[in-house]
């Protein structure tokens, strides 16, 4: 099935006129793929989709959620977690409060990864953790902290790589049981995060395109991974500005492993250890 750029344009304009959501500056190709999937999954044509979202606000909300790509993992890309553990976070050990913001946290695996790491470093109690996403369903899932086991066996490998092993010194091995942080229940086919981790973060629905920082905080660490790949260059710049305005001097922005700051805002950061330090 093919979808004309004009149809995508019409869809974006319709959504914008009906709601606060604005996909104008999303990456074309990804948006197109998502739309094609939506038309296919709901057996709709572009016209019938437009009619349905105009008549039914709940359906519009549903479609907006379907547009977002929510794939995530526990300790996705272990190398960056190693860097956080051995290079980046040690510089923040003296702060009385460490303010952390996960922007585009999806179903929460990244937030739990951070809390587990902080706890191993003795920093969890001193950390305040905030997490946002445009999609309220994924936030609900994050609050529950229950994940399928069968498709996510890789989580345990990632946990081992980040928490148990030390790539900088292979003589060191931390024998940390999974049960310290989550219960692996193969019968019910799930991985359940422990209650003390569920209650810690503050989750808030937030659209990076249109909303302000919803928290009365300025951050020491902003984690925004695999979110801006869905934005075009102009929108990426707006988001970098939003982060910059809400970061302390010397604080750190962590992007996904294959993301980088292009354009004017690069000048406000210094890149070190795969992270961006606010100058």
């Amino acid at each position: 099935m093919e979808l004309e750029n004009q149809e995508i344009q019409t869809f974006v304009n319709t959504v914008r006129s009906l709601s606060d959501y604005d996909f104008t500056e999303y990456s074309d190709k990804s948006l197109k793929r998502r739309l094609m999937k939506i038309l296919h999954d709901y057996h709709l044509t572009t016209e019938s989709l437009l009619i349905k979202i105009s008549e039914n606000p709940e359906f519009l909300e549903r479609i907006v959620k379907d547009i977002t790509v929510n794939t995530t993992e526990l300790f996705r890309d272990p190398a960056i977690w190693h860097s956080l553990r051995y290079d980046i976070l040690p510089d923040f050990e003296d702060l009385s409060t460490l303010n952390i913001w996960h922007a585009g946290c999806s179903t929460g695996q990244e937030v739990f990864s951070m809390m587990i790491l902080l706890n191993e470093m003795g920093l969890l109690e001193r950390s305040d953790i905030y997490a946002t996403d445009i999609n309220s369903d994924v936030l609900e899932a994050a609050r529950k902290g229950v994940y399928r086991y069968r498709f996510n066996v890789g989580y345990l490998n990632n946990f081992d790589a980040v928490i148990k092993e030390n790539p900088r010194d292979h003589n060191i091995y931390h024998n940390v049981p999974y049960s310290k942080y989550f219960v692996v229940d193969k019968v019910r086919d799930n991985i359940r995060m422990k209650d003390y981790l569920l209650n810690k973060p503050v989750y808030e629905k937030m659209d990076l395109v249109t909303d302000h920082n919803p928290f009365d905080r300025v951050f020491d660490l902003v984690i925004c991974r695999n979110v801006i790949i869905y934005f075009n260059y102009e929108l990426q710049n707006k988001v970098f500005k939003l982060f910059l305005d809400n970061m302390n001097q010397g604080s750190v922005l962590v992007l996904g492993v294959h993301e980088t700051i292009l354009g004017p805002y690069a000048a406000y950061f210094k890149k070190k250890f795969q992270a961006y330090y606010k100058k």
Binding site: V69, D77, Y230, H258, T260
Partner: protein, 185 residues
């Protein structure tokens, strides 16, 4: 030059063919090359380096929004889909795997086909699943030129057999023939 870009897809059993192809690409090749290979999640850094050492042209895993330049080989990063956003830019995505694959050859080929249309050359090599068939179909549909490795020449036949069964590639060639084709680019 009849083509504005080259896409190569491969999976299990394609490694040796890939090495050969990368060795013989003309060093003054004036088009970009997009390489979409399935690989193990964990085998990450070493793979890029190995290929980069062999290739006649510079090879890199692109960042999201990386500018496309002629004479560069762009290797789809592990665990990401690589899409050709427009003639100037590459985009990455973490969308779910397609046909159990991320990077997906289908996504990479189809996105390139939309951009380069009849000026695209696509090569599909040995592999163990059905990824690539949709990609070859998309390239054909946009008038691009498609080469599929002869299944009798493949270490693992599934991928090319599937493509040949469901699409009509321009040519079905053995590795030596593909190499000759590419060396004349």
């Amino acid at each position: 030059m009849k083509h504005d870009a080259l896409v190569i897809g491969g999976s299990a059993g394609s490694f040796r063919a890939i090495i050969h192809l990368l060795e013989i690409l003309a060093i003054d090749l004036s088009i970009p090359v997009f390489l979409c290979l399935h690989r193990l999640k964990q085998a990450r850094k070493g793979f890029e380096e190995t290929l980069a050492n062999i290739a006649s042209l510079p090879l890199m895993e692109p960042f999201d929004k990386e500018k496309i330049k002629p004479g560069i080989i762009y290797l789809a990063p592990a665990n990401y889909h690589m899409l050709i956003e427009n003639k100037r830019t590459i985009a990455l995505s973490t969308e779910d795997p397609i046909q159990y694959s991320r990077p997906s050859i289908d996504i990479c080929f189809a996105s390139a086909a939309e951009i380069y249309k009849q000026r695209l050359l696509a090569i599909l090599l040995s592999g163990a699943n059905q990824d690539g068939t949709g990609g070859i179909a998309a390239v054909n549909r946009h008038g691009g030129y498609t080469l599929v490795q002869d299944p009798t020449d493949c270490e693992i036949t599934t991928m090319c057999e599937s493509a040949i069964k469901l699409t009509i590639p321009n040519q079905i060639l053995t590795i030596p023939e593909i190499i000759e084709f590419v060396s004349l680019l």
